[in-house]
Every structure is written in structure tokens, then in C-alpha cells.
């Protein structure tokens, strides 16, 4: 006798109802596209990102100031994190799907683009140099840590904790996880080795590689979280500069 399809029990691995394949790439397109437009607005239409002891991550380190330049001051540094994210293996997945529609979804029935060469030709070949973008991003990260510490030390007040201080701190912590969970970093600390224990015991590079591998499993989560935290940190400083909000002291 035929019985109901459902056995009446909930299986932990039950298949989720899938959304249409275009929802995910379209969401990526909208979110990353909005972030890109916001970043262009910030970089091309503002010359300062400093509010007392807060520095927007778009403007740190203040390279332009070191040379006395006063036009488009964010431009001299913002390209570094942009390059790091553009060449990032995780973002590559997102923008190839969202912007290039290559592919929009797995096994989607869309007509393919006629020309496809993967990452074999310029300019996409530049993605092969992700490790160098990592080193540049590391330098910026060090400055952002300095900024995060200084965000707790207020002129004439000394150490205080304000909303802005916490935003800058959370931002740099998320950026640290994003940076050190990088696939290229994982390769550099040990992934390029074939043998981890040829000396008879696990090598130091194995320990590094294992740790980075654990973080790397969540690289996409760190990528999104740090993107939003950078966005939030910059917007907070921008709104303070515009006088729209006031920085609340917590303790």
C-alpha cells in the first residue's frame, strides 16, 4: 500500500527549498556594487577621514599627508585593500558569479557567454599575484591596529571607550581574521610543502598550516564580515565629520 512521501520525522540534513539560481548572484551584484559605488563616493569626493582620534580605514595610513598631497587623499591607500579583495579567492567566486555570470549558478541553464578564458589572460591573470596583495594588505592592517588602539585614547580625556572606539576595534579584529585566513597565506606558511613530518615529527609549518586551514574554512564569512565592518567604520567616521551623529561615551 502506498504511503505518504514524508515519513513524519525531521531529518537533520533535509534539503532546503532552493531559491531560484539567480537570487544569490543578483544579491552579490547589488551588495558588492553598492559597496563599490559607496567607496568611489568616499574616495573621490572626500579629502579627510579623520575625526579627532578616529581615522576611517579608507584613509589609513595617511600616505598622502606624508608627501604633502591634499587631493584625493584616500586614493593613495584604498587601492591596496581593493586589490587584496579583488584578487581574493573567495571574492573571485562571488564576482565571477555575480558580475560576470560565469556561471550565475551551479548547473544553471543560462546561455553561456561566447568567450571564456578563465584566468589565463590579462587582466584576470593578475589574480595570480594575490600573495603580493596580501603583503601590502598586511602593512595596511598594522596601521589599522595602531588606529584602533589610538581610538581609545582621547585628547584631553585619556582612555575612554566610545561607540567609535569599539567599531574600529571590531573592524580591525575582523580584518585580521580575514587576512590570516587567506588561501595564499595558507600556502605560504606550509601548504607548498609535500611532507609535514619527514623529520619524524610534525613540523612547525604543519602547525601553522593546520591553524590557518581551520580559519580558512570560514574565509568567506570573514570576507563578508570585514567588508561590512570597514563600511560601518568609514560611515561612522563620515557621519561624525558631517555632524549627523554624536559619538556616545560608554565608559
Amino acid at each position: 500500500m502506498a504511503q505518504p512521501v514524508s515519513s513524519g520525522t525531521t531529518r537533520p540534513a533535509a534539503r532546503r527549498k532552493k531559491m531560484p539560481y539567480w537570487v544569490e548572484p543578483l544579491t552579490t551584484l547589488v551588495v558588492l556594487g553598492t559597496w563599490l559605488l559607496y567607496s568611489l563616493w568616499e574616495v573621490l569626493f572626500h579629502n579627510t577621514g579623520t575625526y579627532h582620534n578616529y581615522i576611517s580605514p579608507y584613509f589609513s595610513p595617511g600616505i598622502a599627508g606624508w608627501f604633502g598631497w591634499h587631493i584625493l587623499t584616500a586614493l593613495y591607500v584604498a587601492w591596496v585593500p581593493f586589490l587584496f579583495r579583488f584578487t581574493c579567492y573567495y571574492y573571485r567566486k562571488e564576482y565571477y558569479r555575480g558580475f560576470f555570470w560565469d556561471p550565475p549558478g551551479c548547473a544553471a541553464a543560462d546561455a553561456p557567454r561566447k568567450r571564456y578564458s578563465g584566468e589565463t589572460k590579462w587582466p584576470l591573470k593578475i589574480n595570480n599575484l594575490h600573495r603580493y596583495a596580501w603583503f601590502l594588505a598586511l602593512i595596511v592592517l598594522l596601521f589599522l591596529w595602531k588606529d584602533a588602539v589610538e581610538a581609545f585614547i582621547f585628547p584631553h580625556h585619556g582612555f575612554e571607550v566610545r561607540v567609535g572606539s569599539l567599531i574600529l576595534l571590531v573592524n580591525v579584529v575582523l580584518l585580521t581574521f580575514y587576512t590570516f585566513s587567506c588561501h595564499a597565506f595558507r600556502h605560504m606558511v606550509g601548504g607548498r610543502r609535500d611532507c609535514f613530518s619527514c623529520g619524524g615529527k610534525p613540523s612547525q609549518s604543519y602547525r601553522f598550516w593546520s591553524r590557518v586551514s581551520r580559519w580558512n574554512a570560514f574565509h568567506g564569512a570573514w570576507a563578508w564580515a570585514s567588508l561590512f565592518s570597514v563600511w560601518a567604520a568609514d560611515l561612522y567616521v563620515r557621519l561624525l565629520l558631517m555632524g549627523v551623529i554624536h559619538d556616545a561615551r560608554l565608559f
Binding site: 502506498a2 556561471p103 541553464a109 599575484l129 600573495r131 607548498r192
Partner: protein
């Protein structure tokens, strides 16, 4: 009134075909392959479907269920309650009949990969740290669902340009082996077409063995190709060292 399953199965051969609908009585725990067997036994004995173990171990019964590459024996029908279940052959490979495709291209590719070349004769000692890394790749059952979903092969007709994710896993298995002394990096950079892959991870999403194909095989191999062919500083040092 009993609840039934509406099955729409692609029937045809290399000259073309169409989906044909069947009503199949539902049984708790039923998988798509069960429903196809019901059709074979009760309606269409000539329905062609390749299967073997019915336990998600042999990798024979790969097909597309409602557009997703799946093992028919591992895909439960109660996941599709209220939907028409559309079963089609893997789109990347030429159809032989109904749900059976010709996957022989994969075996031709496999022949191009130099096998394990141990520096010491077997049996050799391998520590768990090294074994664990390649054991993940040993889980592959060669169902070729990753090859089916790979857009380079599927949408861009790239079988002459890229070996596909299954064989990146195979190469990673040898290349990252602790005692292997072979060098497959030139193969990766040239004939295997590693950089045709744009790391969009569909292969990882469909793998029934949950191998992290992109993160643990393809990207580490891409980094090895970068070491050899794209990293200017490493290239400089290599040239200075006369290698």
C-alpha cells in the same frame, strides 16, 4: 487517497529526446533511484539508468534532479514533496540512452596524469599529518558530478582546455603526497588547464563525498603554479640559483 510522486524522466538517445511523466506510489525513505526502478518494473522496462551499489559508494548513478547534479541513490524523494521530480542525464557528457551518459572522456584524461612516483619503494612510512591531507582526496568515488557541474566543461565546451575538478583532485592527491617525487606543475599550467578554473566552487557544492575540491585541491594547486610561473621574486631566485 494515497500520495504519489510525479516523476518526469528524460527519455531519448544521442539524436534527441524528451521528458516523459510517470506517477509512482510513494514509500517512506524512497530515493529517486527507487522510483526509477519502480518505473522499470511496472511501466517502462527499457528505461536506461546506470547504477550499481545503491549506497552512494560506486558513483554510477549520477544524473540531474530538478537541475542539480545528484547521485540518484542518495537523493530522497521527500525532499521534493509537492514538486514534480525532473530527472535528466548529466548535461556535460554525450547521452547513450535515457539517463546513461558516455563518461569515457574522463578515463582518457586520467591516462594523461603521471601516477604516484614514490621516492622510496613501498611499503614506506607516512605520518598521519601527511596521510590526512591526501586521504580527503581518496574519498572521491568518480561519480563525475563535479565534472558535470563545472561550467568550463558544461557551458564552454572546454573538454580540450581543462581536465575538470575530478582530475584536479587526482593530481592534488599525487602532488601533495609525502613521498611522491613527480612534478605535475607543468602539466597543470599547460595541458590540464588549471587556470581555466575561476574557483566558483560549484564542484565543491555538488560533491556527494563532501570533498572541499576548490579550497583543498584546486586553490593549493593554483598556488603551486603561481610559485613556478607567476611569482616574479621566486622566479628571480630560481634563475639566480640556475634552476
Amino acid at each position: 487517497m494515497s500520495e504519489g510522486i510525479t516523476l518526469s524522466v528524460w527519455r531519448g538517445d544521442k539524436d534527441g529526446g524528451e521528458e516523459v511523466g510517470y506517477q509512482v506510489p510513494a514509500v517512506p525513505g524512497m530515493v529517486v533511484l527507487d522510483a526509477l526502478h519502480w518505473v522499470q518494473q511496472n511501466a517502462q522496462p527499457d528505461l536506461a539508468v546506470r547504477w550499481n551499489c545503491k549506497a552512494a559508494h560506486c558513483g554510477s548513478c549520477g544524473a540531474e534532479v530538478n537541475g542539480e547534479p545528484k547521485l540518484l541513490c542518495k537523493t530522497r524523494l521527500d525532499d521534493y514533496a509537492g514538486e514534480t521530480v525532473r530527472v535528466r542525464p548529466m548535461a556535460t557528457f554525450p547521452v547513450i540512452k535515457d539517463l546513461v551518459t558516455d563518461v569515457s572522456w574522463n578515463y582518457q584524461v586520467a591516462e594523461q596524469i603521471p601516477p604516484l612516483d614514490p621516492a622510496v619503494p613501498a611499503p614506506f612510512t607516512m605520518y598521519q599529518e601527511d596521510a590526512s591531507r591526501v586521504q580527503e582526496f581518496h574519498r572521491c568515488i568518480e561519480c563525475f558530478l563535479c565534472q558535470d557541474t563545472c561550467h568550463v566543461l558544461r557551458n564552454h565546451d572546454g573538454t580540450d582546455k581543462y581536465f575538470g575538478p575530478r582530475f584536479m583532485v587526482k593530481i592534488a592527491e599525487y602532488e601533495m603526497h609525502a613521498v611522491d617525487q613527480g612534478d605535475r606543475v607543468p602539466l597543470l599550467a599547460q595541458a590540464a588547464g588549471l587556470n581555466m578554473c575561476n574557483v566558483t566552487k560549484c564542484c565543491t557544492e555538488v560533491c556527494p563525498q563532501h570533498i572541499r575540491i576548490t579550497d583543498n585541491a584546486i586553490i593549493p594547486l593554483k598556488e603551486r603554479v603561481v610559485d613556478r610561473y607567476y611569482d616574479p621574486i621566486r622566479t628571480l631566485f630560481r634563475r639566480l640559483a640556475g634552476r
